[in-house]
C-alpha cells in the first residue's frame, strides 16, 4: 500500500527556504509568484491490508519520527493512484 506524507512548516513559522526560493524566482522573472513554501514529501510503501490501516500506521510513524510537531504539520494521502510514486522508482 502506497501512502504519501506531506510535511509542512506550521503556519506562523518563517519559511526561510521558501522565501529564498521565491526571491530567486523573482530574480529570474517570475514576479507572479505570490507565495511559496517548501516542505517535505515522504512516500511510503507499507504492508497493510486496507488503506485505513496503512494510513493509521503511517500516522503513527509521523508522530514518532517523520514530523516534529513543534515545527511541522503533516497530512497523509492515500486517495488515488495518480498521486503515487512513478513506476520504476527504486532506491
Amino acid at each position: 500500500m502506497k501512502v504519501r506524507v506531506l510535511v509542512r512548516l506550521k503556519p506562523g513559522i518563517l519559511d526561510v527556504q521558501g522565501a529564498a526560493v521565491q526571491r530567486a524566482l523573482g530574480g529570474l522573472g517570475f514576479g507572479d509568484v505570490r507565495e511559496l513554501r517548501v516542505g517535505k514529501l515522504i512516500e511510503v510503501e507499507v504492508d497493510a491490508p486496507t488503506a485505513e490501516r496503512a494510513r493509521a500506521r503511517v500516522d503513527e510513524m509521523c508522530r514518532r519520527l517523520l514530523a516534529n510537531t513543534i515545527l511541522e504539520d503533516y497530512t497523509i494521502e492515500t486517495d488515488s493512484a495518480e498521486h503515487l510514486a512513478p513506476p520504476g522508482a527504486v532506491r
Binding site: I13, L14, V16, Q17, A20, R64, L65, L66, N68, I70, L71
Partner: protein, 237 residues
C-alpha cells in the same frame, strides 16, 4: 565525577569531549555506545556533536528515539546530569527532554565560527563558576541551530531563568547581528526546569585549551566539578 560520552555511529565530537575530560579536566570518562541503556556508574552523560544517524531527515530526530536516550529519564531521576552540545542539544529537544526545536540556520548555510555568549543563569550545576553577565567565547559548528519555541514556551523559559546562554556581542549586547543562526531571542543554550539537563549549540570542548580556541569552555566542567581553574589545571575547591 564520572563522565560518559555517548557515541552514535555518526557522532564526531565524542573523541574531543573524551580528550578534554580525560587529558585537560583529568576526570574519569568512558564512551557509551548508543545502544547501551546502562548508565548506572555515571554522574554526567555528555551528548556530543556530530550527525548521530546521518541526520538526513532532521538533526537529532532518530537519535532522540534511541536506546541510550530512552534511558536518560531514569538516569536523571537517579540524580544524574546531562550535557548536550550541538547535535546533543538537537537530540535533547527531539527527545522532549528540553523544550523547543532546532531548525535550519536562517542563513540556510552551515556555520562554523567563533561566537560570544552572554551568561544569563549561573544558578545551575553547569554554570555556577561563572558570573552573571559574563561573556564567553566558544565556537559553533552547525547547519541546524536556529532555536524555535512557541511564544508561551519562550515566556516560560524566561520566567524560570531557563535560558542559560544567549548569542551576544563581545561586549555582551544581545543584538541581531550577534545571532549567527537566527535563534529565537538569541538563545544559544537552555536548561530544563529541574536544572539537570543543559543543551547548547556551541562547543565547549573546542574552547578548553589556550592553544585551541581559549579556555572559556572549561568553565562548564569547572562548574560541574565545583572546582577552580588555576593556571590551566583543576584544583578541587
Amino acid at each position: 565525577m564520572r563522565f560518559g560520552v555517548v557515541v552514535f555511529p555518526g557522532t564526531w565530537s565524542d573523541c574531543d569531549f573524551h580528550y578534554v575530560i580525560s587529558e585537560v579536566v583529568k576526570q574519569p570518562v568512558k564512551y557509551v555506545w548508543h545502544r547501551d541503556r546502562n548508565l548506572a556508574d555515571l554522574d554526567c552523560v555528555v551528548l556530543p556533536g556530530g550527525f548521530s544517524y546521518g541526520d538526513y531527515l532532521r538533526a537529532g530526530a532518530v537519535a532522540g528515539r534511541s536506546p541510550v536516550v530512552e534511558a536518560l529519564p531514569e538516569f536523571l531521576a537517579g540524580g544524574g546530569l546531562v550535557l548536550g552540545s550541538c547535535n546533543g542539544f538537537q537530540i535533547l529537544c527531539e527527545a522532549g527532554l528540553l523544550p523547543g526545536a532546532l531548525m535550519r540556520n536562517e542563513c540556510l548555510q552551515y556555520r562554523c565560527q567563533s561566537t560570544s555568549l552572554l551568561v544569563e543563569n549561573v544558578d545551575t550545576p553547569f554554570t555556577r563558576a561563572l558570573r552573571p553577565g559574563q561573556v564567553l567565547t566558544m565556537p559553533i559548528s552547525h547547519g541546524e541551530g536556529k532555536y524555535h519555541a512557541e511564544p508561551e514556551t519562550l515566556r516560560a523559559l524566561r520566567q524560570r531563568h531557563q535560558v542559560v546562554f544567549r548569542y551576544a556581542t563581545a561586549a555582551g549586547q544581545v543584538t541581531r547581528a550577534a545571532n549567527p543562526n537566527g535563534s529565537a531571542e538569541n538563545i544559544a543554550g537552555i536548561i530544563n526546569e529541574e536544572g539537570t539537563v543543559l543543551g547548547l549549540m556551541p562547543h565547549p570542548e573546542r574552547a578548553a585549551e589556550s592553544a585551541i580556541g581559549g579556555t572559556d569552555g572549561l568553565q562548564i566542567f569547572h562548574s560541574l566539578l565545583g572546582s577552580l581553574v588555576e593556571d590551566g589545571t583543576f584544583t578541587k575547591r
